[in-house]
């Protein structure tokens, strides 16, 4: 068990190092000089040079890579070129929107998907199964920004239950913010839940043909009891993998939804950073996203340990 955790940790650290190197390299290759961009086309070469020095762009590339890495380890992500505030501050305020949104969406998606998948699998081949499959197909096919606009039309404009966008900020109370995040979370959760329900369904169906399921039936469990006691946990293993992938996607992939609902999240920050050649912001946010993805995968690997005793090895 220790060696499993250790090897997962090693994968985590090596992935981060590798990613940081690639990110740095990519940013270097992208044409465009932040100093001249900030000062405009009419700037004097001396002014540009001076600004470069101020921004720390005049030293060697290797030195800048090292500075960046060591800075990040100490929690210093540098100062944004355009906003002139520490990147860490910027990111922190945006995370306050992005992480709750992602968690909210993944929670909704899981709460919807697992029972639906279970329901479809238990009625495998029947009419209920087919209707679930049809609806989830629809859920995957509908673009989430369109679904988001439909939600706004119905719940904000027609029913006036929710506001059409923005967040009040956490100092105004948790419930208000959660209410504001409800529509975007639903919009994000729809395609995720559809995928997850299908994964859950096929994972359960796989376990139905396993020998231990037959053993369970032969020892007197009803069909429903056997699914609940023996199929469910075995089906969780593939489901966990998908949840992990979805969470990573939700943290960064919410750019469009954040735009639809005017949410100041990470997706919008990175989009603005790219447009404004704010390299230090882009670098740091991308690195942060990589960290989130790798961390979530690590957590999923650890969750396998909880679910599957075979990974724990011999005690």
């Amino acid at each position: 068990m220790f060696s499993y955790v250790f090897s997962r940790m090693r994968v985590l650290i090596l992935s981060l190092l590798f990613a940081s190197f690639i990110i740095f390299l990519m940013i270097e290759i992208i044409p465009g000089d932040p100093a001249s961009f900030m000062l405009g086309i009419n700037a004097e070469p001396e002014t540009i040079q001076a600004l470069k020095k101020e921004l720390g762009l005049d030293v060697s590339k290797f030195q800048r890579y090292l500075d960046w890495i060591t800075g990040m380890l100490a929690g210093d992500f540098g100062v944004s070129y355009t906003y002139r505030v520490p990147v860490s501050e910027l990111v922190l305020s945006r995370l306050g929107v992005s992480i709750p949104l992602a968690l909210y969406a993944i929670l909704l998606s899981t709460i919807i998907a697992l029972p639906v998948g279970l329901f479809a699998a238990a009625n495998h081949g029947g009419f209920r199964d087919w209707s679930v499959m049809g609806f989830t197909q629809l859920g995957i096919a509908i673009p989430n920004f369109w679904f988001a606009m439909v939600l706004v039309l119905i719940f904000s404009i027609y029913l006036k239950w929710f506001s059409a966008g923005g967040v009040p900020g956490w100092e105004k109370g948790i419930l208000l913010n959660l209410k504001a995040l409800t529509l975007p979370a639903f919009a994000l959760a729809l395609p995720q839940a559809s995928i997850l329900a299908r994964v859950m369904r096929s994972a359960i169906i796989d376990t139905l043909s396993q020998d231990y399921f037959r053993t369970a039936r032969a020892s007197g469990l009803t069909y429903g009891q056997a699914i609940f006691r023996h199929a469910f946990r075995n089906a969780l293993i593939p489901v966990l993998t998908i949840i992990g992938l979805q969470f990573s996607f939700l943290i960064a992939g919410a750019i469009i939804i954040e735009n639809v609902f005017f949410l100041p999240g990470l997706g919008r920050l990175i989009f603005q950073g790219i447009v404004q050649r704010d390299l230090i912001v882009v670098e740091s946010v991308v690195m942060l996203l990589v960290f989130a993805v790798v961390l979530v995968n690590f957590l999923v690997d650890m969750a396998y340990l909880v679910v599957d005793p075979r990974l724990r090895g011999n005690k």
Binding site: R214, T215, A218, S219, L221, H230, R233, N234
Partner: protein, 532 residues
């Protein structure tokens, strides 16, 4: 009153007859054997009794448990019978247990469903039952999962689960088929013991007549969904009223007629090789402890000789095969085939490599299902130097198919269209086609039914004679090995513990391990076989 009586029971799947007018009776405290080859409907009989049939099946006839007609029961009513009054023990103990639950909780489950036990009481009874079926003490205390115990122990756990609620009838479907002979002997003894001391009845389903001859009071012989003969065990074995019973009993312990004589010329020499697993180390995998699988193994095969290799699972047989084939590395010693050294990862000229071919246990899994037989059989041709026209190759495929008793027309078909025995014939044709000198038979007949096994053994003997072949005959089944081989080596935990001629090993085993092995082989009493 009988515990179980099946009367005139028939079963069809989508108009296909699965069972036809089956009659079967089990009296209290009796062991009734149900024998037959694969596909004869043995397992379907078991599933019919518990009414665990697929929804598209149609049944007629009655099945009685004591005096209630359980074939008319609803699923809900059956749930009260299953596991409580009648329990079913499956083969493949590893997959029959839920990998994510502790063995104790799985054994306790029938008590929680049927007996209103609290969790604590159920666990206590489960632990007692696990102890009763012979699981060692250290496996009773902590949370033990199925993957942490051996195959024989897993089977004991399944028996405990089937027995824990004290049912009146246990149906055991091939409970020892995937186990080693010594483990098999232990499991059979346990089942017999439960019948004797606890008064349960046992319906023992198996393809192995020798097993039944040793423990069953009555046997029923099944063929294509029908019971062709039923009676007292000894009577059935001695009288052999039906032709099918005669055929089955004749194939048990079948020895092919002609054994080829070994010549003095050395073909393969394996000299003191050792090999281990887990020696690879990569950037992302943590270093694993080396596990030695072969330890100083030495063997020689002469031209036209059949060398048998026996050993239980984990004895290193398969690794030995892989090492000789040059796909697994060895650390010291040498393997010399026809004066050329063989070592995984090093270049072997195709001429030497083409002297050696292999036939595996699972004939279906060893073929690409999307290729036609012609292409599958012609596969080893890439080892042979020289240019072959398409016609040459086709002719050779036709000849090879004829030699193994198939027709050249079969070359146009796919592997799934053939039966298990035919598939093994195709595997042999594939091995034969480039005229090797040595064929390695890795459990090549182990998965086949007795009558098919006899046919394949005949074919192998005939081919060895005709083409001056040598065989390395690897199997866990000592009785088959001794019937076909000139010499036999016995392996245990990666070492060769005994070597000798086949009759020496079986009649006068020297090593303790061989003695144990020989003793554990189930045998039909000789007087029963001679008839009369």
């Amino acid at each position: 009153m009988n515990i179980l009586s099946v009367s005139d029971f028939s079963l069809t799947f989508k108009n296909k007859n699965i069972l036809k007018n089956v009659h079967l009776k089990v009296a209290p405290g009796q062991i009734v054997g149900l024998a037959g080859e694969s596909g004869s409907g043995k397992s379907m009989t078991a599933l019919s009794i518990l009414n665990l049939l697929p929804s598209y099946s149609k049944k007629t006839g009655k099945i009685f448990f004591k005096d209630s007609c359980i074939s008319d029961f609803s699923d809900k009513e059956m749930c009260r019978i299953r596991g409580d009054k009648i329990s079913l023990i499956f083969q493949e103990p590893l997959t029959a247990l839920n990998p994510l639950k502790t063995i104790q909780s799985q054994v306790a489950e029938p008590l929680l469903i049927h007996k209103n036990y609290t969790k604590r009481e159920a666990n206590q009874v489960a632990a007692d039952t696990l102890h009763r079926v012979g699981l060692p003490k250290h496996l009773l205390h902590r949370d033990v999962y199925p993957h942490e115990i051996s195959g024989g122990q897993q089977q004991r756990v399944l028996i405990a689960k089937g027995f824990v609620a004290k049912p009146n009838l246990i149906i055991a479907d091939e409970p020892t088929t995937s186990l080693d002979v010594t483990t098999q002997a232990g499991i059979l003894k346990l089942l017999e013991d439960l019948v004797k001391s606890e008064g349960v009845s046992l319906l023992l389903i198996t393809h192995d007549l020798a097993v039944l001859s040793q423990c069953a009071h009555r046997v029923a012989i099944m063929k294509s969904g029908e019971i062709v003969e039923e009676g007292e065990t000894e009577e059935v074995f001695r009288q052999r009223k039906s032709q099918y019973t005669r055929k089955l009993l004749d194939s048990v312990n079948y020895a092919p007629a002609k054994k080829s004589k070994a010549s003095g010329k050395l073909l393969l020499s394996v000299d003191k090789i050792s090999s281990s697993y887990g020696s690879s180390e990569s950037l992302f995998a943590s270093k694993q402890a080396k596990f030695k699988v072969l330890n100083n193994v030495t063997l020689k095969i002469f031209e036209r000789e059949i060398l048998g290799v026996v050993g239980e699972s984990g004895s290193g047989k398969s690794t030995l095969v892989k090492t000789i084939l040059g796909v697994h590395k060895y650390e010291n010693g040498s393997i010399i085939l026809n004066n050329k050294k063989i070592d995984a990862g090093k270049y072997i000229d195709s001429e030497t490599r083409s002297l050696m071919q292999v036939v595996f246990q699972d004939p279906y899994g060893s073929f690409n299902p999307r290729h036609k037989i012609r292409r599958l059989v012609a596969e080893p041709f890439h080892l042979v130097k020289g240019v072959f026209t398409k016609k040459d190759i086709n002719d050779r495929v036709d000849i090879a198919l004829r030699e193994v008793g198939l027709s050249p027309d079969d070359a146009k078909r796919y592997i799934h269209e053939f039966s298990g025995g035919q598939r093994q014939r195709i595997a042999i044709a594939r091995a034969l086609i480039i005229k090797p000198k040595l064929i390695i038979l890795d459990e090549a007949v182990s998965a086949l039914d007795v009558s098919i096994k006899a046919q394949i053994l005949d074919l192998l003997a005939e081919l060895a004679q005709r083409h001056a072949l040598s065989y390395l005959f690897v199997s866990h089944d000592l009785s088959v090995v001794q019937n076909v081989s000139n010499r036999v080596i016995v392996m245990q935990k990666g070492t060769v513990v005994e070597e000798g001629t086949a009759s020496e090993i079986l009649s006068f085993p020297k090593a303790d391990y061989t003695k144990k092995l020989v003793k554990a082989i189930p045998k039909i009493p000789v007087s029963w076989l001679s008839g009369g």
